[in-house]
Each structure stands twice: as structure tokens, then as C-alpha cells.
Symmetry: C2
Subunit: 178 residues, 2 copies
């Protein structure tokens, strides 16, 4: 409750523990507000986009296997931002790769996915006025496109029938805008 | 669009690259649906809870420094699940530690935070009928509690003025339930 409370932590030293295809893991030693030292494990991530793509009152979803959680999911189209790519360009590319469509994009929200351990930022776009304009998908990505009515998507989001944060959040954020 | 499309990936072999205080990083070699091999980097996480705590039409928020993103945030109370702890027990403990209150807990949603690279599951609870019942906080955690009116929290969530997924999502999910 004290406005003057100093909360920030400053880096003393650090090391890169792993640099992979997708993630970089760093461990830093930091100075806490009380002067003590602590270690912080951080996953550095290039950022990502996800797209609510609407066509004739339906929303495009992708069914895919998520190895990290060991199961199939039904999610809004999404993907990692490439080096030097803007979030908007990434959204256009990912929607074409995953669904075959291009659309008029509107940014509806930007947030950190889980700021306790990663700097991953997610940008959510709304895509409308879709036209068929396919791009080849990544060669290690296997997915199936499904369409469901917008009202059904909204009901599923409100009732926690989708299982990943960005899909639920994207649908609930778009709700107020269409 | 093919219901018969086989999407799952099967583990061939793997290694633990890092086991830290909070995260375990694994890299597995997997068999893709087309028979090819690919590598998958996965962060294993114990899971977490977050709590929408309501008192007299106000919601309790915590201001804290998030080292991974290098900035202060205003979030709903949250924390990692300890070994052998249930999500409900964790929610009760974290709310007491971070705000000093106990409340009647109701689970309102469970989702994966970012299933592209981690198995982190987040359980969101709604806490009402709060009573003062403090527990000591973790000794490397520094935070300040703030209260804002529920309608103001809802407006900020809808307008993307909060910056982390669980805070926005928790508020939007609770919206339909109170």
C-alpha cells in the first residue's frame, strides 16, 4: 500500500544456460529490493501472434497436436514471430500458412503470456474480409482447419471448453468489438 | 478438414537440459505424423493458480516487479503450485501470503498458458467473503496490494490496460458469474 515501496530487481550477473531452436534459457543473479541476492530463471522468447479470423459469422480454428502438453487442441491460428518480422506481417503469414486465408487485420490486444518466467508477448489480431490466398505451411507442422459459428465459439470460451489462454482470451476480447 | 488426419507426435528419445528452481527444460526427439523426426523443446512447469478476490465490489491486485519482462505489473494474486499441493490449497495459501486474506474459493477456469512450449496449467479461482488471515510471504517476493472497483477492473481488462494474460482472462471469465 506504500507508493514509495521500491520493487525493482537489478541484474548482477547472468549466464545463458541453453539456446535452442525456439527458446533461450537464462539464469541471472539479481539484487532484491532488500539488498539480498536471488536467482531468476528466464525463458527468452521471440514473441507470438494469434488471429481471430471471421468469415460469415464463423471463426476459423486449427486442430493440432501440442507436444508440450501431450494432447490435441482446438485453438485460434497462431505462431512465433520471425527475426525482423513485425507482429502484423507475422499475423498475415501465419493465417495464410495455417488456414489458407488472407484478411484485413486489426490489433485487438497485446499481453505477456506468463510473466513469471518468460518475456513472451502475444499480439492478438482480428481478421475479417477473408480471401483465399494460401502459403505453404511449415514442414513440421500438421494441422486441420475447422470452422464453428461465432456464437458457439463465444459460448465455449465463456464455459472454459477451450483449453489454451490465447484462444479464450482472444474470443472474449473480440466479443466487445464486433 | 479430414477427420482421419493423424496429428499426434510420439517421443523417440529425450534429455533433460536443465533442472532449475522453478523450471525443467527438456529436449525430445519425436516422430512426426509423416514419419520424419523433429526436436521439441519443452518447459516442464508445476502449474499455477491465480485468484480474483472480491471485497465490497472491489478487486484485490498486486503490484510487483517481474524480472522476466523487466517491469512492474499490476496483476491478480497468483503463484506456483508446491509439490503435493492441490490447486485449491495453493489458491488459499497464495491469497493469504500476497494479500493477507482468506476467502471462499470457487474454481472458474483452467487452461494452458502457452502450450507451444510449456505444460504450465493455470487454475483461476474466484474468492469471496474475505476475512483477514495473513500468512508470511516468500522472502524473495516484494509486492504491494492495491484495490480497485470491480467495474474499473472490467473496463481495464476490456481495453487491454492490464498486461498479463491471466489477469485479463480472469476478469473477463468472472464477468459472467457475478
Amino acid at each position: 500500500m506504500n507508493d514509495k515501496l521500491k520493487l525493482s530487481e537489478t541484474r548482477i550477473r547472468g549466464e545463458v544456460l541453453f539456446e535452442g531452436r525456439m527458446l533461450r534459457l537464462e539464469r541471472d543473479i539479481v539484487r532484491l529490493p532488500n539488498g539480498a541476492e536471488a536467482s531468476r530463471e528466464v525463458i527468452r522468447h521471440p514473441g507470438a501472434v494469434a488471429i481471430i479470423a471471421l468469415q460469415d459469422q464463423e471463426v476459423l480454428l486449427v486442430r493440432q497436436y501440442r507436444y508440450a502438453i501431450g494432447r490435441e487442441t482446438l485453438e485460434i491460428p497462431a505462431g512465433k514471430i520471425d527475426p525482423q518480422e513485425s507482429p502484423l506481417s507475422c499475423a498475415v503469414r501465419e493465417l495464410r500458412e495455417e488456414t489458407g486465408y488472407s484478411g484485413v487485420m486489426e490489433l485487438i490486444g497485446t499481453f505477456y503470456t506468463t510473466p513469471g518466467f518468460t518475456d513472451e508477448v502475444m499480439h492478438i489480431f482480428l481478421a475479417r474480409d477473408l480471401v483465399w490466398d494460401p502459403l505453404e505451411t511449415d514442414d513440421d507442422e500438421f494441422l486441420a482447419v475447422e470452422k464453428i459459428p461465432w456464437n458457439e465459439a463465444l459460448r465455449r470460451a465463456q464455459q472454459n471448453e477451450f483449453i489454451d489462454a490465447k484462444t479464450i482470451l482472444g474470443i472474449l476480447l473480440v466479443q466487445g468489438k464486433i
